[in-house]
């Protein structure tokens, strides 16, 4: 990979990160008109409280001063103080990060494995009953709102699995019981996320393997007399995997926003639930912090996906 290409990509990513910070400012300070009115909507507040909140958010200063202050703070890692929690936004995000990584990570791994396996099988036996049923089911599941599936699952399974939170308060503090408890709480949210997400991997894997299936090198491999499953596993699938690897990286950034409704349904104490709590406030400082952090993470993931694609696929490097 040429240094020039790498530098260009990094410069692009840096520009995007700056734009994310600017957009975060515009979204929450300029578009709402008066952010303080938006935040206290429907609540009885005195004039003094409004003035105090204005001073706290700094919205009593001219816009350009607010902007430079916000950018300077954001670059120093200070994303302000949450209005509802009365704590630094960054601290709140840090606390809620790991539950989301655990939940979304597990769900993504399972969804990728399931989607790739089903997609590859379906494409190899194109138009078989297996292919038609698995594609049909994937399309139907892709059409489902994630949170609806979550509501249904928690209603159908009843008391079999806990339908809220991350652990019971009375679980003994030793590691095995705690881990089991968390795993028990994870069953329903993970199941919900996997059921909707795997469909996308299935469809991408399927169409990408269908394209590879008729390539000349497959015919060559067959002509050598290789067994059918070896042709698939050693020749077709590795090439068909390339678009999916990129997709996984693109999705990693989006997985958190996919977790918003699932975490809300199952009150899983992660970033998704934090976003929900911020929007019900509405706690604009918190929402702004979450937005900047999530959007920044996605921008970085996209750069990683691009770079990885070039490393893995010589065809992209050549062009």
């Amino acid at each position: 990979m040429s240094t020039r290409y790498l530098l260009g990509k990094l410069a692009g990513a840096a520009t995007s990160l700056v734009l994310v910070v600017v957009l975060g400012f515009l979204l929450f300070r300029v578009i709402p008109g008066d952010p303080v009115v938006a935040m206290t909507r429907g609540r009885p507040v005195t004039r003094d409280q409004l003035a105090a909140l204005r001073a706290e958010l700094g919205v009593d200063r001219p816009v350009h001063e607010q902007f430079t202050a916000w950018v300077a703070d954001a670059l120093r890692g200070d994303l302000g103080t949450s209005y509802t929690f009365r704590r630094p936004v960054l601290e709140l995000i840090g606390e809620r990060l790991w539950p989301t990584v655990l939940l979304a990570g597990t769900a993504t791994l399972l969804a990728v494995a399931l989607g790739l396996w089903l997609g590859a099988r379906g494409a190899w036996r194109h138009d078989s009953a297996f292919d038609r049923i698995s594609t049909g089911a994937a399309l139907a599941q892709w059409a489902m709102p994630t949170f609806w599936l979550g509501l249904l699952l928690s209603m159908v399974t009843g008391d079999l699995f806990p339908s809220g939170g991350m652990r019971y308060p009375d679980t003994p503090p030793d590691f095995p019981s705690q881990a089991l408890d968390v795993a028990h709480h994870m069953v329903l949210p993970v199941l919900t996320m996997v059921s909707v997400v795997y469909a996308q991997y299935l469809l991408v894997m399927r169409s990408s393997l269908l394209e590879e299936k008729h390539a000349d090198y497959i015919t060559t491999a067959r002509a050598k007399g290789l067994r059918d499953d070896l042709v698939r596993r050693r020749h077709a699938v590795p090439n068909a995997l390339l678009p999916t690897v990129t997709l996984v990286f693109l999705h990693l950034g989006l997985v958190v926003s996919g977790a918003i409704t699932v975490e809300t349904v199952f009150s899983w104490p992660g970033l998704g639930l934090l976003t929900y709590e911020a929007l019900t406030g509405p706690d604009l400082q918190l929402l702004q912090g979450v937005f900047v952090l999530l959007a920044g993470a996605v921008v970085l993931m996209n750069v990683l996906a691009d770079l990885l694609h070039r490393v893995l696929d010589p065809r992209v490097r050549a062009s």
């Binding site: 994310v20 957009l23 578009i31 709102p145 599936l149 509501l151």
Partner: protein, 293 residues
């Protein structure tokens, strides 16, 4: 338009229809869509909107399906059948409006970037930037800071979903503009309006149409998600707002499946219908992508 041209266009349309009708799944999607649209349009004639008012609710809260309320009642005693029926209208209108607006923005940006090469850098830079942003988070941010209402939801969905259309339309415009007939049109003195209006737009239209169909499907999911999070229009019943009420007022612990199932099935039916239509149209109108059935 001369008679010959008209006949040729009619024949082309008939051929397109025949190959669309050959896709059984696409045809099923179209029929389903027609039925749902008819139900949505007929709602004011066949039902009484007064039943949507909480103060005029006729039943007790959370009653299972009975002969009086075929799909049971919600948390305030309204008929779930009536709510779901009227929810169709809001979900369809929001989905269609958001998809059309989003595809419109995407097409203008895509065509402009490809036709006026000077604008390409900044426009595609902006497109890539918005493509990378997590669209649900951006939509949530917009609907939190703007006043609640249908137009806010439409705007939030459109503003966050146009970039993919812009990319596809730009690629197609570049491909069309590289063809000899466009060069000839330019050499004969055709201006920007002529080239874009007479050559580029007709060529990207099938793509735009397919894109709109698929965009409606995702816009309806987005609408239900935003309304479920409580960001919808509080004065109107949509499938998302029904599910918001169901989860806020304990329908799950009450095992009130009749309140949770219908709105979700509504979303699945409409989204599936649009997706099937879109996929069938894709393989008919854009044959080079064909075979992806």
């Amino acid at each position: 338009m001369s008679a010959l041209v008209r006949r040729r266009r009619l024949a082309a349309a008939a051929a397109t229809w025949r190959s669309f009708a050959a896709h059984r799944a696409g045809l099923a999607g179209l029929v389903l869509l027609g039925a749902i649209a008819a139900l949505a349009l007929l709602a004011p004639l066949l039902t009484d909107a007064g039943g949507l008012d909480v103060t005029k609710a006729t039943g007790a809260p959370y009653r299972p399906p009975s002969s009086e309320h075929w799909l049971g009642t919600d948390n305030s005693g309204r008929s779930v059948l009536l709510l779901t029926w009227w929810g169709t209208r809001v979900s369809l209108v929001v989905g269609l409006a958001a998809a059309v607006l989003s595809v419109l923005i995407g097409t203008v940006v895509g065509v402009t970037a490809a036709h006026f090469r000077r604008t390409e850098g900044p426009l595609m830079g902006a497109t890539d930037f918005f493509l990378a942003l997590p669209s649900l988070v951006l939509a949530i941010a917009l609907s939190t800071v703007l006043p609640r209402g249908l137009s806010t939801i439409v705007l939030a969905i459109a503003v966050t979903s146009w970039p993919s259309t812009a990319r596809v339309v730009r690629a197609q415009t570049l491909a069309v503009e590289a063809r000899p007939f466009v060069e000839r049109a330019r050499a004969l003195g055709g201006g920007h309006a002529h080239v874009v209006g007479r050559h580029v737009l007709p060529a990207v239209l099938p793509l735009v149409l397919v894109n709109t169909t698929l965009a409606v499907a995702s816009a309806i999911i987005s609408e239900s998600t935003l309304s479920f999070l409580g960001l919808g229009d509080p004065t109107r019943v949509s499938w998302g707002s029904m599910l918001h009420a169901a989860s806020s007022y304990g329908a799950v612990s009450q095992r009130a499946w009749w309140f949770i199932l219908p709105p979700g099935l509504g979303v699945v039916a409409v989204v599936l219908a649009f997706t099937l239509c879109g996929r069938a149209m894709e393989s008919v109108l854009i044959p080079r992508l064909g075979g992806r059935r």
